[in-house]
Symmetry: D5
Subunit: 115 residues, 10 copies
Amino acid sequence: MAEIETFDNPYPERNYEITHVNPEFTSVCPKTGLPDFGTITVRYVPDKLCVELKSLKYYYLEYRNKGAFFETLVNQILDDLVAACRPRWMIVSGEFNTRGGIHSIVEVEYDASEG
Amino acid sequence: MAEIETFDNPYPERNYEITHVNPEFTSVCPKTGLPDFGTITVRYVPDKLCVELKSLKYYYLEYRNKGAFFETLVNQILDDLVAACRPRWMIVSGEFNTRGGIHSIVEVEYDASEG
Amino acid sequence: MAEIETFDNPYPERNYEITHVNPEFTSVCPKTGLPDFGTITVRYVPDKLCVELKSLKYYYLEYRNKGAFFETLVNQILDDLVAACRPRWMIVSGEFNTRGGIHSIVEVEYDASEG
Amino acid sequence: MAEIETFDNPYPERNYEITHVNPEFTSVCPKTGLPDFGTITVRYVPDKLCVELKSLKYYYLEYRNKGAFFETLVNQILDDLVAACRPRWMIVSGEFNTRGGIHSIVEVEYDASEG
Amino acid sequence: MAEIETFDNPYPERNYEITHVNPEFTSVCPKTGLPDFGTITVRYVPDKLCVELKSLKYYYLEYRNKGAFFETLVNQILDDLVAACRPRWMIVSGEFNTRGGIHSIVEVEYDASEG
Amino acid sequence: MAEIETFDNPYPERNYEITHVNPEFTSVCPKTGLPDFGTITVRYVPDKLCVELKSLKYYYLEYRNKGAFFETLVNQILDDLVAACRPRWMIVSGEFNTRGGIHSIVEVEYDASEG
Amino acid sequence: MAEIETFDNPYPERNYEITHVNPEFTSVCPKTGLPDFGTITVRYVPDKLCVELKSLKYYYLEYRNKGAFFETLVNQILDDLVAACRPRWMIVSGEFNTRGGIHSIVEVEYDASEG
Amino acid sequence: MAEIETFDNPYPERNYEITHVNPEFTSVCPKTGLPDFGTITVRYVPDKLCVELKSLKYYYLEYRNKGAFFETLVNQILDDLVAACRPRWMIVSGEFNTRGGIHSIVEVEYDASEG
Amino acid sequence: MAEIETFDNPYPERNYEITHVNPEFTSVCPKTGLPDFGTITVRYVPDKLCVELKSLKYYYLEYRNKGAFFETLVNQILDDLVAACRPRWMIVSGEFNTRGGIHSIVEVEYDASEG
Amino acid sequence: MAEIETFDNPYPERNYEITHVNPEFTSVCPKTGLPDFGTITVRYVPDKLCVELKSLKYYYLEYRNKGAFFETLVNQILDDLVAACRPRWMIVSGEFNTRGGIHSIVEVEYDASEG
C-alpha cells in the first residue's frame, strides 16, 4: 500500500477536529468484480501528527482495483490511519452508492483513551 | 419467507455501525388491497454476524404482494433481522408515502443489552 | 367531532415510535374568518392502542370550517389524541403558513409517566 | 360567486406580464366529498384592467366548500378572470396534490388575438 | 388489462393540457425477474374525452407483476391511452431508477394531426 | 414603541413551545445609515400570557427606520418580549443578510427559573 | 428621486447582457401602509451607457418609505432606468413576497428597436 | 473494447427518445495518471436497434484504467454508440468533476439526416 | 498576462460544445480596492484548437490582484480566449457575489460567422 | 496584520452567542503557491468586548496572498480573535474547497473557563 504520510501537529496542546471528505472513492466488489463507488469521510482529533492530504489521496487510489466488502474496507482504512498518525480520536465513515436498489453506510470509531 | 443470510463480522472486537437503506420497498395495504410504497432503513451494530446484502434484498421482495399494516411490518422486519444476525443494537425505520394526504413513519429499536 | 378510532397495538411489549404527518391541515382564523393552512405532525409511543389512520384524517377534516387560534388548536389535538389512544408519550406540532409576513410553530408534549 | 374586482391598468400602452400564485387553493372532490389541495397560478398581459389582488383571494375562497373536477375548475377560473379583466393573453394552471399516488396539473391558455 | 375509463371533456372547444404524474410505478424486469421502479408522466391535450384518474391508477397496477422492458412499456402505455381517449396530442415518459449504476428515461410522443 | 399585546395562555398548566418567524425584518445600520435585512425568530414557553401576533408585527415595524447594531437589537427584542409576556423560557435569534461579504447571527436566551 | 448614475459602456460595439439582482427591495403598500418586500431584477443590453451599481442601490432606497402598487412600481423602475442609460433592450421584473397567501410577479420589457 | 450489444427496436415506426445516465463514470487523466470522475448521459432516437443496457455498462468499465482527455473521450463514446446502433439522432454529454477548481462539460451531437 | 495554451481539436470536422466552469474566480474592485468573487463560465464550439485547462486556470489567477469592473473583465476574458483558440462560437459569463445587497451577471457572446 | 477592533459588549451581564460567517475567505497553499478558498465561521459568547465586523473583514483580507496550511490557519485565527476580544467561549471553523478531489474542515474551540 501507498504510505500515509504525516506532519507535526502545529497545535498539539489543543484538542481540535480535522475532517477530510473524499467523494471520489472507488473499489471493486469481491463477489461480482464490478466497481463500487462511495464517499469516505475521516474526522479526527490529532495528537502529535496530522495526516498529509496528498498522501491520503494516493492511499485511497490503492483501492481502485482492489476487491473489498464495505464492512472490511472501512475498518481497514481506520486501522491504517490510526497506525499512521496515532490520533486522540477518529471516525471513518463510508457511504456507498446503490447496489440492487439498496445503499449502505458503514461507520467506525476509534478512541485512544479507551484502549 | 426468503432466508436472511449472514457472514462473519470481520471486526467483532469493535463496535461499529452498518446502515442499509432501501428506498424501493413496496407491500400491499390489507384493507384496500392497494400497494404501499416506502423506504426501509436498517441501522445496527453487528456482534458475530453481518447481514448479507443480496439476501436482504430478496427478503424485502417477499413483502411485494403481501398485506401488512405499517406498524406490524416494521416490527416484523426488526424481529426477522434480529433473529438472523443477533446484533448488539438495531433500529428499523419505515417511511411510507402519502395515503389520503398523510404520510407515516414507524421506528423500532432493539438493544441486546436490555433484553 | 368525528371519533378518532384505534386498533390494538400489535407489539405492546416494545417501545416504538409512530409518526403521522398531515401537510394538508386547514382551519379558520377566529378573528378574520379567513382560512389558515399548516402541517400537523403527531409522534407517539403507543401503549395498548394505535391511532387508526383513516379516522385521523376525518378528525382533521372537522377543523376545515372551524375557528381556532394556533395555540388552542394544537393543544386540543393533543388532548383528543391522548384521550383516544392513551399513549406512553406523544408530541403534536403545528407549522402554520405565513400570515402578515410571520409564520408560526406550536409544539406540545405529553408524557404518561409524568402525569 | 364573489366578484373579481379590477383597477385601471396604469400602463395600458405597454405589453407586460403579471403573475399571481396562490399555493393555498382548496376545493372539494365531487366524487368523494374529500378536500383537494393545490396551487393556482394566473399569468396575464393586462389590457385596460388589472385584477385586484384582495378580490382574487376572496374569489378563490368560494371554492373551499364547492365540489369540482380539476379539469372543470381550471377552465372555470380562466373564464371568470377573462370575463372580469379582458386581458390580451392569460394562462391559468392548477397543480394538485397527490391523490391515490398520482398528482395532476391542468393548464389552460387564452389569447384575445385568436378569439 | 384493466380498462382505462374516460369522461366527456368539459371544454372540448379549447386546447388545454392535462398532466398526470405517477411516481409509484413498478413492473418486473423480464430478464432478471426483479422489480423495476419509476415515475410515469402523461401529458395530453384532450379532444372529446378525458382520462379518468382512478381507472388510470388501476391500469398502472396491472404492470406490478408483469415483465416488460422500459422501451416497450412506455410505448405500450401510450398506445393504450391513445386508444382509450383519442387525444389531440400526448407525451408519455418513464423515468426509471438506477439499475447497475445507470438510470434511464424513455419518452414517446403522439400527435393526432400527424397520423 | 408600539405595544406588544398579549392574550391569556389557554393551556397554562402545560409546558409547550411557540415559535414566530419573521423573515421580513429590516432596520438601519447606525454607522452607514443603510438598511439591514434579516430574519427574527422568537421561541418561547408561555406562562400566563401569549404574544399576540398582529401586535408583534407592528412592534417589528418600529425598527424599520431606526438605527441599531445587531447585538443590541436582538437583546432589546428579547427584553421587550420578556417584559410583555413573562414567559417561562425564551430564545430570540436574528440572522442578518451579508454585509461586506460576511453574514451574522445573534442568539439570546432567557430562562425565568435562572433569574 | 436619487439620480441613477451611468458610466461609458467599455464595449459599445458588442451586444452583451448585464443583470443586477436586488433581493432586498422594500416599499410600502399604498392601501394598508404596511411594507412590501421583493426582489427586483434588471437585465439589459447597454448601448452607450452602463448603470452605475452604487447609484442603483441608492435609487432603490427611495422606495423604502414610498407607497406604490406592484404594477406601477415595476413600470416606473423600467422608465427611470431607460431614461438614465438608454439601453438597446431591458427587462425589469419584480417578485413580491406573499400577501394574503398570494405572491405576485410583474415583468416589463423595453426594446429600443421597437419604439 | 467490450462490445456494445443491441436489440431490435420494438417500435421502429415511431420517433421516440431514450436516455441512459451513468453517474459512475471514471477514467484516467493521460497527463497526471490520476483518476477523473464524471457523469455520462446518452440521449438518442433509435432506428432499427436499441442499446442493450448491461453491455453499455461493461463498455463504460473499459475506460476505468484508460487515459483519455475529456474532449476525446466524449467524441469516442458517441462514435462507438453510433457504430453499434445506428440511431436517427444522438447526443452524448460528459460532466466531469472539479480538477484544479474548474469543472468541465463536453457535449457532442449526431444527426443521421445530416450525415 | 499568463498565456492561454491550446491543443489541436481532436474532432475538428464536428461541431460540439465544451464548457469550463470556474467557481473560484476573484479580482479586485478598482473603486474600493476590496476583492470581488464570482463564477466564470466559458462555453464554446472549438474550430482547430481547444483551450488547455491548466493554462486557463493560471490565466484566471492573473486577475487575483488586478482591479477591473465586471463589465470590462468579462469582455476582456472573451477577447483573450477568442484570440487564443479562434472558436466557431463562444459565450463567457460572470456571476458575481453580492456587493451592497445586489449581485450581478455579465454575459458576452462571440460568433465567428458574424464577424 | 490588520488590527481586529472591538466595541463594548452592550449586554455583558448576559451569556449570548454571536456568529460571523465569511464564505469569501481565500489564502495561498504554501506548497503549490496556488490559492485556496473556503468559509470561515466564528461563533462566540462575548465577555466585555465584541468583535467589530468591518475590522474582521480587513483582518481576513490579510490572508489573501499569504501561505498557510488549513490546520495552522484556523488555529491562528482563533488565537488572534481570542487575544483581541477575550470571549467567554469561541469556536472557529474553516471549510475548504475541494483540492485533489478531497475537501477539508478544521474546527477549533476555546473555553475561557478551562484555561
